[in-house]
Symmetry: C2
Subunit: 214 residues, 2 copies
């Protein structure tokens, strides 16, 4: 691996675990096996390095987004959208922690990111939800945008602190049952969105998948 990628890798771990102010450039350089001035050759400032770390998270999200929106147009859109989003963050929980920290540290900057990068496709999905409300699949009392924001927060924030929350579920203290949390999250998201009819219709589709035509 080239040095630049190594630096980004180590910096991601450190910024996620200890935050911007809790991470020193020397500590990152040490982990990579170089000296601080060498690090500053690849990234001209600590702020530049931090920006690059966040940018990498956004880039990787943008890489799976088209695949997600394509799935959102298919039949079992809900399960795919939710489980793929969960997968993206559980595959590297540091992504969730970085986003959470950035929201706490720079709320104004995060508001802007939300408006330009999240709001557009969130509105697209909210449109799907509204149409499903008219067809009676989705509960009429649901607030599409607010619902989606809560589910996103449930996933991102949940993954960021899942190993801490999980300890309450496993009495022994050894294994933190994250799967139990994920299953319940999925249940909460489903049940609070769909009507009983919508749920039945969805389960019917799932039972028929594979044997059906396409």
């Amino acid at each position: 691996m080239d040095v630049r990628a190594q630096i980004l890798d180590v910096a991601t771990r450190r910024f996620a675990a200890h935050g911007y102010d809790g991470t020193s450039l020397s500590a990152i350089a040490d982990d990579v096996g170089i000296k601080k001035p060498s690090l500053l050759y690849h990234f001209p400032s600590k702020d530049d390095l931090h920006r690059a770390v966040l940018e990498q998270v956004v880039d990787r999200w943008n890489a799976v987004l088209p695949h997600l929106l394509a799935a959102a147009a298919s039949q079992d859109r809900f399960d795919t959208l939710l489980s793929e989003t969960v997968r993206f963050f559980t595959e590297d929980p540091d992504r969730a922690r970085l986003i959470l920290r950035e929201t706490l540290d720079h709320p104004a900057a995060m508001r802007e990111r939300l408006l330009v990068a999240v709001a557009p496709w969130l509105e697209v999905i909210a449109g799907y939800v509204r149409r499903a409300q008219e067809s009676g699949e989705v509960r009429a009392d649901a607030d599409p945008e607010a619902y989606l924001l809560h589910v996103i927060h449930l996933v991102v924030g949940g993954v960021a602190i899942s190993d801490t929350l999980g300890i309450v579920l496993s009495r022994d203290g050894a294994s933190s049952d994250i799967e139990r949390l994920t299953r319940e999250l999925s249940r909460i998201a489903r049940v609070s969105l769909f009507t009983p009819e919508g749920l039945a219709r969805m389960d019917g589709r799932r039972a028929g998948a594979g044997s059906g035509s396409h």
Copy 2:
């Protein structure tokens, strides 16, 4: 107000907004209007001050907890429990931010706090939920402990970043609609917990409140 309380107040705001490492003792002292060594007379170290700030949050929570558990034994336990918990954090969102930051910065310490201070009364409430499952008021597929953890996270994390999330809901960019988020949170928590029968029974109780006997 005495100096000690002033220091705690300012430190709470600063630690919540910028984190432990992002807050200097001089900055806190400046806000209070004293010098750093004077601050260190009241709190022997930065760590001691930070502990005192967290302790104050826990103390204030413990002050409302008996009132909460008493309400949990009454009839409309769900609405009271949820809305009082929301009130506790919205009344000072810094409480939520401090807890979130502590979870990110010191997950091991937070795990311990969860086990000794949260798990006990969470088990009590989970017991209520399980009994309501047997009577058919609560959905049989709900996982009581996991459900409660998600709702707690939804409230605490949600309040911590509500002004950032809210910006997506208000297109104008002026007022962030936090009430819309709160209402949808409450809906998600209710609908994903109760059966249709349980919801009807609850609404019946609420309609009868005030005119009923006690």
